[in-house]
């Protein structure tokens, strides 16, 4: 493909990087990333993927913008209140970068639609706010051999891991969703808005690295950070042979949504 003069200027700071260059930018423009959830994590992630020139960005979210979202969900603005998040997000992305094709799904991710939707993308970015969907995304990716970035935030803390086929999956580390009552409800817990920005931006960086094939992904390790002490550490996790989905004798061979109260981070 040939860049237009405008594209050369727009992507000049990528092209100039040895590890990205012309070839890497072409991979980004041909890349397809699905952002699950246009919320705290999905907002910064989608904005950076758009600015970077990821050619196709899918966004799935069944919610509308609420005023309580605006403290951290930076793709949405005050006039967007009551509008579907996917429409609000699509408009911002198209303003940032007309090179990007945006596909919107104004629906919940379910066992019925997940495989069809995921099959259209190279990489999945989990920006969801509830455990059942996080496990569903993990299981769907493991069973279909798809790579994804996991992310979670609460209060001043964030954690993220990248899964690629053959490496440690989310269930290798967390066997199943925590029991009811053990996790504080997220409305009680709260979250510092910029913590979402830090984590979503790390996830977007993983997607860009995956598409261009550069660097070392966050596979087989969790990156955990605390904003109060501003400390980051990464914890190594091997694959678990007893993992219910990727272990030696898997008990999960088809997709099922686990029961768990949803929370709204």
């Amino acid at each position: 493909m040939n860049f237009t003069d405008i594209q050369i200027e727009r992507y000049s700071r990528h092209i100039i990087l040895k590890d990205v260059g012309v070839e890497g930018q072409i991979k980004l423009l041909e890349g397809k990333v699905l952002v699950v959830g246009a919320g705290g994590l999905g907002s910064p992630a989608a904005l950076y993927l758009a600015a970077a020139g990821v050619g196709t960005i899918g966004i799935i979210d069944n919610d509308v913008v609420d005023i309580t979202n605006l403290q951290r969900q930076i793709i949405h603005t005050t006039p967007d209140i009551n509008r579907p998040k996917v429409i609000s997000a699509k408009e911002k992305i198209e303003k940032i970068n007309p090179d990007v094709k945006v596909k919107t799904y104004h629906e919940l991710l379910t066992t019925d639609n997940i495989n069809d939707i995921f099959s259209e993308y190279d990489f999945i970015l989990d920006g969801t706010d509830n455990f059942p969907t996080k496990f569903l995304i993990n299981d769907a990716c493991v069973l279909s051999g798809k790579s994804f970035s996991h992310g979670g935030i609460i209060k001043f803390d964030g954690q993220t891991m990248t899964y690629t086929p053959g490496n440690t999956c989310y269930r290798c580390v967390f066997n199943s969703p925590p029991p009811k009552g053990l996790v504080p409800s997220c409305s009680q817990a709260g979250v510092l808005g910029s913590v979402a920005g830090i984590l979503g931006t790390i996830q977007a960086t993983e997607a860009l690295k995956y598409l261009t094939g550069i660097g070392e992904l966050l596979t087989n390790r969790f990156l955990i950070f605390n904003a109060l002490s501003m400390s980051f550490r990464s914890v190594h996790f091997n694959r678990n042979e007893n993992c219910p989905v990727c272990g030696i004798n898997p008990t999960i061979t088809e997709l099922k949504l686990e029961e768990m109260p949803v929370c709204d981070l």
Partner: protein
């Protein structure tokens, strides 16, 4: 192997090296790109950045006044 030309005398940093990289991406290995640059930033940075990113500088020649020709091998 073929020789190609590029004039970046009207460009400013960092577009000087961006345009050079775009042209280098289009040509084949062992082809040569002759880049016209002005004295100053481009004359210093194009050879340095090209070498850093794995290209070979075959020579630098002063054509006239402040215009130079840098020969880069892919």
């Amino acid at each position: 192997m073929a020789t190609f030309n590029l004039d970046i005398t009207k460009e400013h940093c960092p577009m000087t090296f961006v345009k050079t990289k775009i042209q280098l991406a289009k040509i084949a290995k062992d082809d040569i790109l002759e880049v016209l640059v002005t004295e100053g930033e481009p004359l210093e940075n194009i050879p340095k950045s090209s070498t850093e990113q794995g290209f070979e500088i075959l020579g630098i020649e002063n054509l006239h006044d402040n215009i130079y020709k840098i020969r880069i091998k892919k």
